[in-house]
């Protein structure tokens, strides 16, 4: 066949797939380009932090003054007590606590502001050292008192590898949900007609989940086995961590399958799922604390249920906290899972009605 004929065939292919090509080559790259505005700086300037009075003698002006200075490199929130702030720290509502003592406006006084961070938040270790240093300098010129910042790390010392094992479990679960399960179901589309006559797509999906949800424990066991072999201090088999992993898989795979049914298992469905995967990876702040890169990313991450899946997984597997500490987060994940399953159900109904 002459090159011209093959080129003509390609031209027809382009014409027949114009809509998909616009989506894949124009819309998706544009969305990617637009998403880069969410990455504004590499130094964390918008990480939420807690500001708490050391004692009842600390005045409102002192709290306001520290809050004002801290706003240059973070997003400060006032907390009434240290206990409440530490609970917020464990839940990653904030990533540092600044305990403000009395005497900031006393020229004769020498005061020490305590900066509390968690050992387990490994990616925040170096930024928190830098923040402590910068803050010390800024406070020295701001307040009459001799002011220093003392950084205290609470919790258990963890390595970056241990931290990444927890993150990796959720990341891999996302890949299974957005790529692997949709591919397996797509391979079976050719038998859907017979399945619908002899049984139903609902039963097929129920059977798939009955097999794949337990299968998701296999990579968890593999991660746990390797982590144990390497003597990592991380418990991926903690019930709370397993619940977070499985809820992540259920919710995201339901969305991914819903997309496949809505697009009738066309290539464009796979592209949409790949985009959702990368979008979720980029904007759920699974590795870095919310507030890194830009305020926009912090706001987006705080809207992502997967951001909270990462937090509760870390909290239960890496920090050894009880699942009860994250009860509201589990409720959120469960609600998100229900909404995702509802989307899948609606997609299957549309798929069958358009058949």
């Amino acid at each position: 066949m002459a090159l011209g004929s093959l080129f003509a065939r390609e031209a027809r292919w382009v014409r027949h797939n114009a809509g998909v090509l616009v989506l894949v080559l124009l819309v998706l790259p544009s969305l990617f380009a637009v998403s880069t505005v969410a990455f504004q700086q590499v130094i964390p300037r918008d990480t939420p932090i807690a500001v708490v009075p050391e004692s009842e003698s600390v005045s409102e002006d002192e709290i306001d003054a520290v809050t004002g200075v801290a706003a240059f490199f973070s997003r400060p929130h006032d907390y009434e007590s240290r206990d409440v702030a530490e609970r917020a720290l464990a839940r990653e509502e904030v990533y540092a606590i600044f305990v403000v003592p009395h005497g900031l406006f006393d020229e004769e006084a020498s005061v020490e502001i305590e900066m509390i961070v968690e050992e387990e938040m490994v990616p925040y270790e170096q930024p928190s050292l830098a923040i402590a240093s910068i803050l010390s300098g800024q406070l020295r010129g701001t307040f009459p008192a001799e002011t220093t910042v003392e950084r205290t790390a609470i919790g258990e010392d963890r390595t970056l590898s241990e931290f990444l094992v927890s993150v990796g479990t959720i990341l891999l679960t996302m890949v299974y949900a957005f790529v692997y399960l949709p591919r397996v179901v797509a391979d079976e589309e050719r038998v859907f007609q017979r399945i619908r006559v002899e049984s139903s797509l609902w039963r097929l999906l129920a059977a798939k989940y009955a097999v794949f949800v337990p299968l998701m424990l296999v990579p968890v066991l593999a991660f746990h086995g390797i982590a144990s072999y390497l003597d990592f201090q991380v418990d991926l088999l903690a019930p709370g961590a397993i619940a977070a992993t499985l809820l992540t898989f259920l919710s995201l795979s339901a969305i991914a399958l819903g997309v496949m049914f809505l697009t009738r298992f066309a290539t464009v469905g796979r592209m949409v799922n790949a985009t959702l995967l990368f979008g979720t990876l980029a904007f759920s702040n699974l590795v870095y604390p919310a507030g890194f890169f830009s305020p926009m990313r912090r706001n987006i991450a705080r809207l992502s249920p997967i951001h909270y899946a990462g937090i509760v997984h870390r909290g239960t597997a890496l920090k050894g906290n009880t699942a009860a500490l994250y009860a509201d987060r589990y409720l959120l994940l469960a609600g998100f899972t229900l909404a995702s399953v509802a989307f899948l159900v609606a997609s299957v109904i549309v798929y069958q009605r358009r058949a």
């Binding site: 050719r190 038998v191 007609q193 619908r196 006559v197 049984s199 058949a355």
Partner: protein, 228 residues
């Protein structure tokens, strides 16, 4: 005797009317042949009957019994062997007994390819597996879309004999085909579809041979437009 009844069924796909006011009864005890040219609405009618799509208007009553189906494009799990496919779909809708399954395998000669992955089979063997799956549960009505496509002559002869014996008080056949001559000795009820409408429906013994009747009808449909 069980029956599937279409009452004033209309099916539209956007502006296209695939079926237009179809009234039809498909009963057990007979071999019912659905005949029509390409685009006449046969496939749409079968999909409605199987519940794979819904009528735009009208009603379809199905019997309490089961419906089995063989598709124009064979439909099975390509990565499973022939035996595994029979096991999987047999578990969804079990055969009446093991002897029935063994008979089917014998009639269709599937023993030779029992352990081969279904997706690796030739077109003829894939068609035989699809037919075996259609009859596996010994359905009340077996719906077959071009059942002889891709089959060699000996296989066609064996299948025709099997089809001729299948209808009884509790079982019936609905065969959609372009090739009515293949079933002239088997069929006893003929429905002709043209442009989504039933242009003829009746028992075969009351009229001329099926093929002749079909050709006459098509000719009658074409003649006015040819004169215009």
């Amino acid at each position: 005797m069980a029956a599937i009844r279409f009452e004033d069924v209309v099916k539209r796909y956007g502006e296209v009317v695939a079926l237009d006011g179809v009234d039809l009864t498909i009963e057990t005890g007979r071999c019912h042949c659905l005949l029509g040219a390409n685009g006449s609405g046969k496939t749409t009618l079968l999909r409605l009957l199987l519940g794979l799509t819904r009528p735009t208007t009208g009603t379809i009553d199905r019997p309490d019994g089961t419906i089995g189906c063989s598709f124009q494009t064979p439909t099975f799990y390509p990565d499973l062997t022939v035996t595994e496919n029979l096991d999987v779909f047999g578990a969804m809708a079990p055969p009446p007994d093991e002897a029935w399954r063994a008979d089917l395998i014998d009639v269709l000669g599937l023993e030779r390819v029992a352990t081969r992955p279904a997706g690796a089979l030739s077109g003829g063997w894939q068609k035989k597996l699809d037919l075996a799956l259609a009859f596996l549960k010994r359905p009340t009505i077996a719906v077959l879309d071009e059942p002889l496509d891709d089959l060699d002559d000996p296989s066609k002869r064996r299948l025709r004999r099997f089809l001729a014996e299948y209808p009884d008080e509790d079982h019936g056949l609905l065969i959609a085909t372009h090739h009515v001559t293949d079933f002239e000795d088997t069929l006893d009820h003929l429905t002709v579809l043209d442009h989504g409408r039933v242009v003829s429906d009746g028992p075969i013994e009351d009229g001329p041979a099926a093929h002749r009747r079909y050709l006459d009808l098509i000719e009658a449909e074409l003649t006015p437009s040819a004169n215009e």
